[in-house]
């Protein structure tokens, strides 16, 4: 599969696109984000098998969203825009059904959908294997396992199809949740069997790299440092909750903890010897995407940390149900659609 841009550039894009989805519920920003991501997807143009399975995920997410809207709208009886009234003596849903609750339900689900979309497009854009190869040594194995887990999903979908056909032909009808058992059990067993076979194959091919175990003192030192680092981080985080008035001490703890962990990871990574087959080249377009996406991500982060009020949307009184829109933030979201501009159709061939 020919690549589009360098995976690291796409990672920066992911940050720029996921940050808005994570940080705001404002439907204006989110709808703009979804459109920008959609334009990128259109520009990518591929129909990879993974894309199909992500379509299923997105549909599932949309279904979930549609289901949670009435849940919020019917249980939060608060607001001044009353749509209709249910008898107050009904247990949970009794009372006024307000427009603010409806808006809040809509906005909450929207952030989930947009996040799903962002990840779906990222998945289509980047070759998982390439991304996998770029993980640092100490998490390489976890990365492989994750990549395989992701690849299992389309296989499971195919298995599901096979199993449901087989059971259908036996006269089985799915009428209720219990009837799913004859479908789920074989699926799980088949997936498990496949997983074991794959594990065997990987083991036989020497997966795990050549880990230079080093002498026991080096190992013990690495473990000790990691333990201390984790402890310092935990203490720092706990202190931030309980004693917020000592920023210097907390900062020192967190910094020391992070440094210890990073050193320990680097040390372990050093001992995993692995080489890389492909050579990664940075083209001009890759650099442009990287820089612009990083700029957008940093800008959004700055706004999130500094001017948080721009981002929140809370329709209930005393706040206004009309969402605000800051053009600057809209611009940052527009930058998410940059790949659509940079991609040439020939780059997207299978």
């Amino acid at each position: 599969m020919r690549d589009t841009f360098h995976p690291v550039a796409w990672l920066a894009w992911l940050a720029a696109a996921a940050l808005p989805a994570l940080s705001t519920r404002n439907p204006l920003y989110l709808s703009l984000l979804m459109l920008a991501v959609g334009v990128t997807y259109v520009a990518l143009g591929r129909r990879s098998p993974l894309a199909k399975s992500w379509g299923a995920f997105v549909r599932f997410g949309a279904l979930l969203w549609l289901l949670t809207i009435p849940f919020v709208a019917l249980t939060a009886h608060y607001g001044t825009i009353v749509l209709f009234q249910l008898p107050a003596n009904w247990p949970v849903i009794g009372g006024p059904i307000t427009g603010e609750a409806l808006l809040f339900g809509l906005a909450s689900g929207l952030s989930l959908i947009s996040l799903l979309l962002v990840f779906a497009v990222f998945n289509v854009a980047v070759d998982q294997a390439r991304l996998l190869r770029m993980t640092p040594g100490f998490v390489y194995q976890a990365g492989v396992v994750t990549a395989i887990a992701v690849a299992f999903v389309p296989q499971m979908i195919i298995s599901w199809q096979t199993i449901s056909e087989a059971q259908q032909v036996r006269g089985h009808r799915v009428r209720g949740p219990r009837d799913l058992l004859p479908l789920i059990m074989p699926l799980l067993v088949m997936a498990l069997e496949r997983a074991i076979q794959l594990a065997e194959s990987m083991e036989a091919r020497g997966f795990g790299g050549q880990v230079i175990t080093g002498n026991s003192t080096a190992r013990a030192r690495g473990q000790l440092v990691m333990l201390l680092g984790l402890g310092a981080l935990a203490a720092g985080l706990a202190g931030a909750g309980f004693w917020p008035d000592r920023p210097v001490l907390l900062g020192a703890l967190l910094g020391a903890g992070a440094a210890a962990l990073i050193w320990s990871f680097w040390d372990q990574g050093r001992r995993v010897s692995r080489s890389r087959y492909h050579r990664w080249l940075w083209g001009r377009l890759d650099r442009v995407l990287l820089v612009v996406s990083m700029g957008a991500a940093i800008g959004w982060l700055a706004v999130w940390l500094g001017q948080g009020e721009w981002l929140f949307y809370y329709p209930y009184p005393p706040y206004s149900p009309w969402p605000a829109f800051q053009p600057f933030l809209g611009l940052l979201i527009l930058l998410v659609a940059l790949p659509a501009l940079l991609l040439r159709p020939e780059m997207t061939e299978m």
């Binding site: 204006l28 709808s31 703009l32 459109l35 920008a36 959609g38 334009v39 259109v42 520009a43 143009g45 849940f71 919020v72 249980t75 939060a76 009886h77 608060y78 001044t80 107050a88 609750a101 809040f104 909450s108 909750g241 309980f242 004693w243 917020p244 948080g308 009020e309 929140f312 809370y314 209930y316 009184p317 005393p318 706040y319 206004s320 149900p321 009309w322 605000a324 829109f325 800051q326 053009p327 809209g330 611009l331 979201i333 527009l334 659609a337 659509a340 501009l341 991609l343 159709p345 020939e346 997207t348």
Partner: protein, 482 residues
């Protein structure tokens, strides 16, 4: 286990419903509920709300009382009150519980009045149903979130909500004779304190304290209740232990004990002592203590002569728009369930000296001098002193405001109070804004949103155009290739 909890809840609910709130319920289908709110700086607001539904939620009670409330709904488990009238945490800019260290928080604690005391609410504002005759309290202060908080002051339901059938007949005069006879069984020092008039400045004089006990002699193993009220005190201790400026404690001495209540401020200290005698079994409780109690006849007289009934503030405060006409009581009155004896005493003592010239505003609104009040620090000890504006220079007694107002000349006098309080608030913009409704944000569509929306639509159009262009380019490319 869950059945037990359900049963407990049911019992609690029953208890709360049938609790000791003698209410003027359902007279003509009108239900009333009372609300007390203690703010960050210790000031108190009370409201009486009339409603026609059989019950409303605690949160509706807050809102209908005209207070601007910010509630956090995003947990999906109901609402948590974050801020009342600007006090608290401005969710969602801030966290709803923004003054928390782990579980110790400074927050709005919700209490229900039940069985003669404040009970911490196990249910949130949106879940609790308030029905006729209930008294609800919201109090800002430190506590453990979910289990304890800072209790609201003890003001009786009947002090806040007058029965519609009750006819308050406040009279200015009170016969001093009734005063004399209605001597509480407290130590003589109490009366002496009552007669002293505090001068204007709060730090100019040592604090004033009323210290009483329900019964000065108890049988062995029995209990009695100590009550006290203090003014202008910064630190108050009972037997060396810090206590609140106005509170009541139940004590069960095993042997005769002298309790010392010390109230101190920058100008001095006032100490009151009270000895509770523990009668040995078989010993007759001396009746002289009882003998000092006013006879019911005297009590009647007292109540006839003074206005014991609470303020008739109900009717005017039904609609939240009248929020400005709030009865602000910086100091709580006596608990309603008490016998009128001690109150009568203080009452009669203090009724007389109230000059009509006193601006009830000053009584009502501690506002203008609010700046001089030191707001309580977070995690302060419970001895937050409730400062109270003395009623102007030269004279007004350090009386609980209600009584003072009531006695300022009958109903009309009270009307004056109300109107002047209204005007006072209107004129006195120095009144702290938190006593008004917080300036409501504009919830309607305003033109200031238009530029933002215009740029939004522009960007949408841009993206759609870009998408179409990309599609076209791809189709051209595909056509070229094939």
């Amino acid at each position: 286990m869950s059945r037990r909890i359900a049963l407990l809840n049911l019992l609690l609910l029953l208890a709360l419903v049938t609790g000791p709130s003698p209410s003027n319920a359902g007279a003509g289908g009108v239900n009333q509920a009372a609300l007390i709110v203690r703010h960050v700086d210790g000031s108190i607001q009370t409201r009486c709300l009339t409603f026609t539904e059989p019950s409303i939620t605690g949160e509706e009670l807050l809102r209908r009382s005209g207070l601007t409330v910010i509630v956090n709904y995003s947990s999906g488990l109901g609402g948590a009150v974050c801020s009342i009238n600007g006090d608290g945490c401005q969710y969602p800019v801030q966290d709803c519980f923004c003054h928390c260290q782990g579980i110790q928080c400074e927050y709005w604690a919700y209490y229900h009045w039940a069985q003669g005391g404040w009970q911490y609410s196990s249910v949130g504002a949106t879940g609790y149903q308030v029905s006729d005759g209930m008294l609800e309290g919201w109090s800002w202060g430190p506590g453990d979130y979910g289990t304890s908080g800072t209790m609201p002051p003890q003001i009786g339901f009947s002090d806040i909500c007058i029965s519609p059938t009750a006819t308050p007949t406040p009279t200015a005069t009170a016969s001093p004779t009734a005063t004399a006879t209605a001597t509480p069984t407290a130590t003589p020092t109490v009366s002496s304190h009552v007669s002293s008039q505090p001068t204007a400045g709060r730090a100019d004089a040592p604090p004033q304290v009323t210290f009483e006990a329900m019964a000065e002699t108890v049988a062995a193993g029995a209990c009695t209740v100590l009550k006290w009220v203090s003014w202008d005190a910064e630190r108050i201790t009972l037997d060396g232990e810090p206590v609140m400026a106005q509170d009541r404690h139940e004590v069960c001495p095993s042997s005769t004990h002298t309790y010392a209540l010390a109230a101190a401020n920058t100008s001095g200290q006032t100490v009151r002592e009270l000895t509770i005698q523990v009668a040995v079994a078989g010993q007759v409780v001396p009746t002289e203590a009882l003998g000092n109690l006013p006879t019911p006849a005297e009590i009647q007289q007292v109540s006839a002569s003074t206005e014991v009934a609470p303020l008739p503030t109900i009717e005017t405060f039904e609609s939240p728009l009248d929020a400005s006409a709030s009865a602000i009581v910086p100091l709580s009155a006596q608990p309603q369930s008490e016998a009128p004896r001690p109150r009568a005493e203080a009452l009669t003592e203090n009724v007389a000296p109230l000059p009509a010239t006193v601006t009830p505003m000053a009584l009502v609104t501690p506002g203008p001098d609010e700046a001089s009040w030191a707001p309580p620090t977070p995690f302060a000890t419970p001895t937050v002193s409730l400062r109270r504006r003395p009623a102007g220079a030269g004279g007004p007694s350090p009386t609980p405001i209600l009584i003072a107002l009531a006695s300022s000349g009958g109903r009309t006098g009270f009307q004056d109070v109300i109107s002047s309080s209204t005007s006072g608030l209107g004129a006195g913009q120095s009144a702290p804004s938190r006593f008004d409704a917080v300036t409501p944000l504009n919830r309607d569509f305003s033109l200031s949103l238009m530029p933002g929306y215009a740029s939004y639509l522009l960007m949408i159009a841009l993206l759609l155009g870009g998408g179409a262009w990309v599609l076209r380019r791809r189709n051209i490319h595909r056509a070229q290739r094939s």
